[in-house]
Subunit: 174 residues, 2 copies
DNA sequence: CTCTTTGCAAATCTTTTGCACAAAA
DNA sequence: TTTTGTGCAAAAGATTTGCAAAGAG
């Protein structure tokens, strides 16, 4: 869970028999410059790179994020959205967890450092080496509750908070 | 997070405008009779039903587990295996969390009731209604570490603990 | 030079969906 | 009766893979 630079990434890769490439450096850079709280799917990461006028094939994107997650550089998030999202696996005090509305995927982050402590305790007990820990709290958001969840809501109903978030993301990516 | 019977499931479904069916009852029954610590993917659930000489279409399986997860009856787990797994969403004191090895998917359960408390606190603060909370600890298991993870291990290497688990599952399902 | 990585296109795998029929309420 | 649920087959997505060429150490 360190803060990587291009050269420390190279060192880490080489120490494991892997190689530094412009693609991997670029991907690290994108995540490091992502507005706080954002996370990207493979497709979205691909789009961000394209928008900069650069290009990395989608296969390489998939291969890279998986590798970087295995290395502990990225966190692989499953936030009930049907595809994986990635974000930097940041050290304390930026490490955080998620509350997700299962109706509309509205997601909020929260910090709670005791979670990591509990996870470490469990790992130590069993001899496992911790890479990352994620507490995901599945919930119904206040707006969905107000609208009469569950029976009164169509499956694809989405709260206004999420809709406005989506609009904001158009501009804020990088 | 209650312990359902066929008739309480029916009541719960009806109260939301949904209907009780033999398929839904059967699925609940399979999960209730699953050995402790097991969880099933949609495919696996389908196989278990078939093995009993009964039959539910795969579409219905997918539709049912999703519905039951939305109702809070099942938990939808993402244990780094590429597809979702389901298990009963059990109340205290059976509620638990998972430590997963990202190399071989070796999974162990652990209980830690403070996690739920922290999640509830966070929900209350934001006005969200808690359905479930899951702490997933991504790790490298002791055996993979011993074998020289990461560089010395092929991507698909799997520890013996998991291989023997898989063999045991053949018999123990139901 | 050798071995890893990339890009492309095709393949795979999981999950979803349209529709006609069956079945709860 | 009306409306929801099921089964089937086809579609849709997301992710992976084989292979030849490019590139890192």
């Amino acid at each position: 869970m360190a803060n990587y630079t291009a050269s420390s990434l190279k060192a880490e890769l080489n120490s494991r028999g892997w190689r530094m490439t412009p693609q991997r450096e670029k991907i690290l850079h994108v995540f490091q410059n992502l507005p706080k709280g954002n996370h990207l799917s493979a497709e979205e990461l691909h789009a961000v790179v394209e928008k900069r006028g650069e290009s990395i094939s989608l296969s390489t994107i998939y291969r890279s994020v998986k590798l970087m997650a295995r290395m502990g550089i990225l966190r692989e998030l499953e936030l009930a959205e049907g595809h994986k999202h990635y974000e930097l696996n940041q050290p304390y005090p930026h490490h955080h967890h998620h509350v997700v509305c299962i109706q509309c995927n509205n997601t909020i982050e929260f910090r709670d450092d005791t979670i990591l402590k509990h996870s470490l305790k469990q790992c130590k007990k069993e001899g496992f080496q911790l890479i990352d820990c994620q507490l995901t709290v599945m919930t119904i958001c206040p707006e969905a509750l107000r609208m009469g969840w569950p029976s009164a809501l169509p499956t694809d109903w989405c709260c206004t908070r999420v809709i406005s978030q989506k609009e904001t993301e158009q501009d804020s990516q990088e």
